[in-house]
């Protein structure tokens, strides 16, 4: 879909910002340009929509040399989100989102309908926000509108230059997650610039790690973590790369279905019997629909007259999509050392235990041959 061939950028003063960059980004791929500041990642991004002219090499989109296309037409076909959001303060949220549709001369009703649809997509109530101005939004809301705007005319390609850079870490985490969900549905081809290795691992299908204008390693996040090509890559991903690797695994990959699950309407005696015969100290309790209600401990059954009285509700639960690093910290904070995995309707799917995670880590460690 996007192909860079020996692309380079040399400034008139002789600075080489990008040297012979060649890489190919497949349709629907989420590619992260990663590296320390000054490594050429933003320059490379901006050469794709020609905000920065190349001084060598070619960039093809769908096989067409971008330098041969009308520059404004080219850019209207590529979504673009920038670091400081860059919402136009004199335009309403609806007008901001419809910037490219307006340039493409969509009729007014269609533009408004599109803005409405996109606000909905990024989780903002259209009726509340369509006619607000950027100054009336919080930082996180502005960022959402920024994302909606770059999706304005439904371009197949999105270029995003640290789009979540300007917000607090908590909001950023949430927006990253939401954006991934959106991407799962839209399947855009995305080039995403960041200097944050954690963001890169979380978001990217592939990561292009750059240094001083050179592409150092272009690989999937798991490969980058497990097989760093050079010392620079190893240092950049950090000493905790095994832990970072956890982020790439989801709860559904390691959860296990316990042998014993208690029905909530069971009698106390029967429950004790089940636990004893399975030699378990505790088990999950579910109702007739399979919805999770909490944990039952053998100890508590001694004094209880009904199973409900012995029930300890879970403080946190995971979803099948929860990354393992988050699940691990939930487990560290839970009394039983386990976390229940529930589907969207609250039904019990399985549980995560330290043993299961250790097994996964051990096997990935073995693959590394260390």
């Amino acid at each position: 879909m996007i192909r860079l061939e020996n692309v380079s950028k040399v400034y008139p003063d002789g600075t080489e910002a990008v040297r012979n960059l060649s890489l190919e980004i497949a349709k629907g791929e989420f590619c992260v340009f990663l590296g320390p500041s000054g490594c050429g990642k933003t320059t490379s991004l901006k050469m794709i929509n020609r905000l920065i002219p190349t001084t060598g090499g070619k960039i093809y989109i769908d096989g067409v040399d971008t330098s041969e296309r009308n520059v404004n037409e080219l850019r209207r076909g590529i979504g673009y989100a920038i670091q400081n959001i860059g919402l136009f303060p004199h335009l309403t949220v609806a007008q901001n989102i419809a910037t490219v549709p307006k340039l493409k001369r969509w009729p007014r009703e269609k533009r408004r309908a599109r803005a409405r649809e996109l606000l909905d997509l990024v989780g903002m109530a259209p009726d509340t926000f369509l006619d607000r101005y950027p100054c009336e939004l919080s930082g996180g809301q502005q960022q959402r509108v920024g994302v909606a705007r770059c999706l304005g005319a439904d371009p197949p390609i999105l270029l995003m230059d640290e789009p979540f850079g300007a917000i607090d870490p908590i909001t950023r985490q949430r927006l990253q997650g939401e954006f991934l969900k959106i991407q799962e549905r839209l399947k855009k081809t995305i080039v995403f610039v960041t200097h944050d290795i954690d963001e890169a691992i979380k978001m990217g299908d592939t990561i292009a790690l750059m240094k001083d204008g050179d592409l150092v390693q272009y690989a999937e996040p798991a490969t980058l973590l497990a097989e760093p090509k050079t010392r620079f890559v190893r240092d950049f991903v950090g000493a905790d790369r095994v832990l970072k690797g956890l982020r790439l695994l989801k709860a559904r990959d390691v959860m296990t279905r316990p042998k014993v699950i208690l029905r909530r309407d069971e009698s106390v005696e029967r429950a004790a019997e089940i636990l004893d015969s399975a030699r378990r100290q505790w088990a999950a309790a579910v109702d007739e629909a399979g919805r999770f209600h909490g944990w039952v401990e053998r100890e508590d059954l001694k004094t209880a007259s009904m199973l409900d009285e012995a029930l300890t509700p879970a403080v946190t639960t995971a979803s099948p999509r929860t990354p393992l690093n988050e699940a691990l910290s939930m487990m560290l904070g839970s009394a039983t050392g386990s976390v229940a995995v529930l589907d969207e309707d609250g039904r019990f799917l399985g549980l995560l235990s330290f043993n299961a995670i250790r097994d996964v880590l051990r096997s990935s460690h073995d693959e590394e041959g260390e």
Binding site: N49, L51, V71, N72, E73, L74, R75, R76, G77, Y80, I82, Q83, N84, I85, G86, L87, F88, P89, H90, L91, T92, T99, V100, L103, Y133, P134, C135, E136, R149, G152, L159
Partner: protein, 225 residues
């Protein structure tokens, strides 16, 4: 003395109104031209690669401002005479006020356009706006408040200078002032001075309102919040 001035206004409202109307006409015509020319010039010199030209233009406009009005009238009379145009009356005064009014407008337009947040420009360009679309949809709306402040400043200043235009027979509120000075009629001087001052204040207030109205809503709200 104030009483005499009031009495004069009460007894000759037609004359006072006529002078005021002439005055307003001169100021409005001159400033309309200064605004149009100034904004056009300001936009042009803010273009890419015209930094040197911009410096020169603003420098020239500042020099224009330092020329005393009587001297400028004199120069214009000579020039207009050489061109075969009427060298006294309305025309030279309007031209002089237009020139005086240029500087605040050109300077403010230039500054406002140059200080548009680069992120806005990059966002606009990155989404495929042409140079003109960028200018009219993004830069100008953002620059309008500052440009209007320049127009307002020019108008208030020209209300004062226009009084001197009476020397060239352009009429206006300079007439009672100069006539009063010539004939020891303090009341006439005072009538002119009072009305000119009131006019300046009224125009300042009015333009303040216009400034507010032309400021895009989103920016106005940002300031208020």
């Amino acid at each position: 003395m104030f009483e005499q001035a009031w009495r004069y206004i009460a007894e000759h409202p037609d004359k006072v109104l006529q002078w005021t109307w002439q005055h307003v006409q001169i100021v409005l015509v001159a400033n309309a031209m200064a605004a149009v020319l100034g904004v056009a010039l300001g936009v042009w010199i803010s273009g890419k690669g015209r930094e040197r030209i911009a410096e020169a233009v603003i420098y020239a406009a500042s020099i224009l401002m330092t020329i005393p009005s009587l001297a400028l009238f004199g120069i214009l009379m000579a020039v207009l005479y050489a061109l075969g145009q009427p060298s006294i009356g309305f025309l030279p005064v309007v031209i002089a006020l237009t020139l005086y009014g240029l500087l605040p407008v050109v300077r403010n337009t230039h500054t406002a356009l140059r200080e548009v947040d680069p992120a806005m420009i990059e966002a606009g360009r990155g989404m495929g706006m042409s140079g003109l679309q960028l200018l009219f949809r993004i830069k100008m709306p953002l620059a309008v408040p500052v440009i209007m402040a320049g127009v307002r400043q020019a108008m208030v200043m020209n209300v004062g200078i226009a009084a001197i235009g009476s020397y060239l027979g352009a009429g206006g509120l300079g007439q009672p002032i100069f006539r009063g000075l010539g004939n020891y009629r303090k009341d006439l001087v005072l009538v002119g001075a009072l009305v000119v001052s009131a006019l300046a204040v009224a125009i300042d207030l009015g333009m303040g309102g216009v400034e507010k109205l032309t400021t895009p809503k989103g920016i106005r709200r940002r300031r208020e919040s």
